[in-house]
Amino acid sequence: MLELIVISTLNGVLFGMLLFLLSSGLTVIFSMMGVLNFAHASFYMLGAFFGYQLTRWIGFWPALVLAPLLVGAIGMAVERYGLRQTHKHGHVAELLLTFGLAFAIEQVVQMIWGKLPMDYRVPALLDFPAFTIFSTNYPAYKMFMLLVSVVIFIALLIVLKRTRVGLIVQAALTHPNMVAHLGHNVGRVFMMVFGVGTALAAIAGVIAGPALVTQADMAALLGPILFVVIVVGGLGSLPGAFFASLLIGLVQTFAVSVNGSLASLFGPLDPSIGPSLLTDVWNVTIAQIAPILPYVLLVLMLIVRPMGLMGTRET
């Protein structure tokens, strides 16, 4: 029992940190620009594929630096030539643009790399078990993921709350004209923010690629849960996203390890009732519904506390 609790906690934290790595860029873009970027997971996928390709050519570590820069540049171009043009038509137009972009990126990736999973491996330097607990290994690579997540969290917090750059960026969202009058180029500020947000997604991609499967549907696989993270955490709140990621990671992991169902709690149903919807509900285990629990959490959160855990405004 203790074994399962310790290991589930560890697994939950690791998965939660991966989620945070993914959602940090989304949160930054939303809180700074007010744009809900539907293509975020696609930039994450681009990061993974660029990371894979660059790893083949120049090795993992240069790829970890170069791929996010490339994706960030693409992100900036999207902001400069796409979002900025649609901005005047309001948020719906921006939303639709990123929505379409997600499909376009998936198609392009499929055209270049095909649909089969890539053979993207963990770098040899990190390919060893970091420690063993209850005879379960924890790979060094996962520890590396954890470390990167925490570093990004702290770095972002400091930049946004403690530096002039963060001040200007935040001011540009609510008072763009005032900021412009003070001599700052608001357009460029937004472009940089979008670039940084997509670069963060790419970092997540380069790092998650070898740990998960790098293939053309990886964006669709992780896209929905990112929105759960930022809504539960509170739209635009970085610490909120951090804690929501942890919460979702832990909830999901612990739910998987629980075998209980209504039947095991209250005993099996009277067989004379026969198979029906009720018997299905009665016999389903918590482990079986674990993967939908985050979405249940999302709905509950929107009903009970629409601004999310740490959000400041209504969703």
Binding site: F15, Q110, A220
Partner: protein, 414 residues
């Protein structure tokens, strides 16, 4: 003059059937390939498409079927039953009489139903459905259809073969079942329980897990559960990324058990096994292993790899296309009704050696089944997988008689 004009008018009318007939004969026989070419299942669907195109090219090089060229028409169903019906209707509208599909039993059930209804409503325009990989037993039992033919061994047959093998392996004592939560995965788990209880009552089932289909990104919590259960063997029907990620997570956590799988050989599986270092600990149940050394299969594999660049995942697709050609030649017609009649009960020497038969009662193809394990190779195993250097090694061949389960099908014949 007037007669001449009449004749001139009549000429095209008369000429139509005359010129029309050869034009139709030179037609192609089209096979609608309804499988995912986008979305989560695309990686698998793509390989299937290439396989069928290769087989079509091969038949065409030998003169086609009854002089007609075979053409594979790709129809993307996104692994979605609803979308599949739209694609099947598209096939009907394009005058296609043969469709083939393999990925997802829910899709297969929808298609089988569609084809059955279509044929009863449109006599004279029948179509046949060749199933090369959807293995839910229900398709050849309760929901069997005269117009549906299955070349893959259904999951009950695979489980029958597997448990017949496990019967003789005393080291298997504690088994953990982990499967995808849909009709196929559920049938794997129930059959495993039933057959193990009958053949090896001493085996303990220490876990029985169902997880959502193609939705899990991190299997670590499931691996933790397997580890906690103390299992020595895991039986899983997982396919696609669900098996690759499962094995990857097992490798990361250092879980050492024997894996009895249906589809570990799929995309990403071999790479994950090699990374995990699970040398000859992952077993697979298939209808053919090229490394078993049967010469025609070895030759086919060589040529296939040289041309397509991937492993032949579907020896059954080879059997399917070759039997289709034979049946059409036997019936001397490409009329689906006649081809169906010829296919029923047809015996065939399968690609990997041995006799197979298309059982008349339920249109399930019965064939020898092989169990192989993945790991380091000797001189006897020429083929590796995904560039890992490791390959499949034959462990056991289960003869057709040992790989047969009765059917409950009450076939409605036209």
């Amino acid at each position: 003059m007037r007669k001449l004009m009449l004749a001139a008018l009549a000429l095209p009318v008369l000429a139509l059937p005359v010129f029309g007939a050869p034009a139709r004969a030179a037609d192609t026989v089209k096979i609608g390939y309804i499988d995912p070419l986008s979305g989560g299942g695309a990686s698998v669907g793509e390989v299937g498409l290439k396989t069928f195109q290769y087989l079509a090219d091969q038949i065409n090089a030998e003169g086609g079927i009854l002089g007609q060229k075979v053409e594979i028409v790709p129809l993307d169903n996104k692994t979605n039953p609803q979308e599949s019906l739209i694609q099947a209707q598209k096939a009907v509208d394009a005058g296609i009489h043969y469709i083939t599909q393999g990925n997802g039993s829910a899709v297969a059930a929808a298609l089988s139903d569609f084809v059955t209804k279509h044929n009863s409503r449109n006599p004279g325009k029948e179509m046949l459905y060749f199933n090369y990989a959807a293995v839910d037993p229900i398709l050849t039992n309760e929901k069997c259809s005269y117009w549906h033919f299955r070349w893959d061994a259904n999951s009950d047959i695979k489980m029958e073969a597997l448990t017949n093998y496990v019967k003789g392996v005393p080291s298997v004592k504690k088994v953990y079942l982990i499967n995808q939560d849909y009709s196929f995965g559920q049938s794997v788990r129930t059959e495993a329980r039933k057959m193990l209880a009958a053949k090896r009552p001493d085996i303990q089932i220490v876990g029985d897990e169902l997880h959502p289909l193609l939705k899990i990104t991190d299997f670590a919590p499931y691996i933790a559960k397997i580890k906690a259960s103390g299992a020595d063997s895991v039986i899983t029907g997982n396919w696609g990324q669900d098996i690759a990620l499962l094995l990857k997570a097992a490798a990361d956590a250092g879980l050492k058990v024997n894996w009895y799988t249906y589809y570990a050989g799929g995309a990403g599986g071999p790479t994950a096994i090699k990374q995990a270092g699970l040398d000859h600990q992952v077993y697979q149940i298939t209808e053919g292993v090229a490394n078993a050394g049967y010469q025609p299969a070895v030759d086919f594999e060589k040529a296939f790899r040289a041309k397509v660049g991937v492993t032949l995942w579907y020896p059954r697709a080879v059997n399917q296309m070759r039997m289709f050609k034979l049946a059409a030649e036997k019936a001397k017609s490409l009329d689906p009704v006649k081809v169906a009649a010829a296919l029923e009960g047809m015996e065939f020497d399968v690609l990997n050696g041995g006799k197979g038969i298309m059982r008349k009662e339920d249109h399930q193809f019965l064939q020898p089944i092989y169990i192989s394990s993945f790991g380091s190779r000797t001189d006897k195993e020429p083929f590796d997988e995904e560039g890992t250097g490791w390959g499949w090694k034959l462990i056991a061949k289960i003869d057709t008689a040992q790989a047969t389960v009765p059917t409950t099908c009450k076939m409605k014949r036209p």
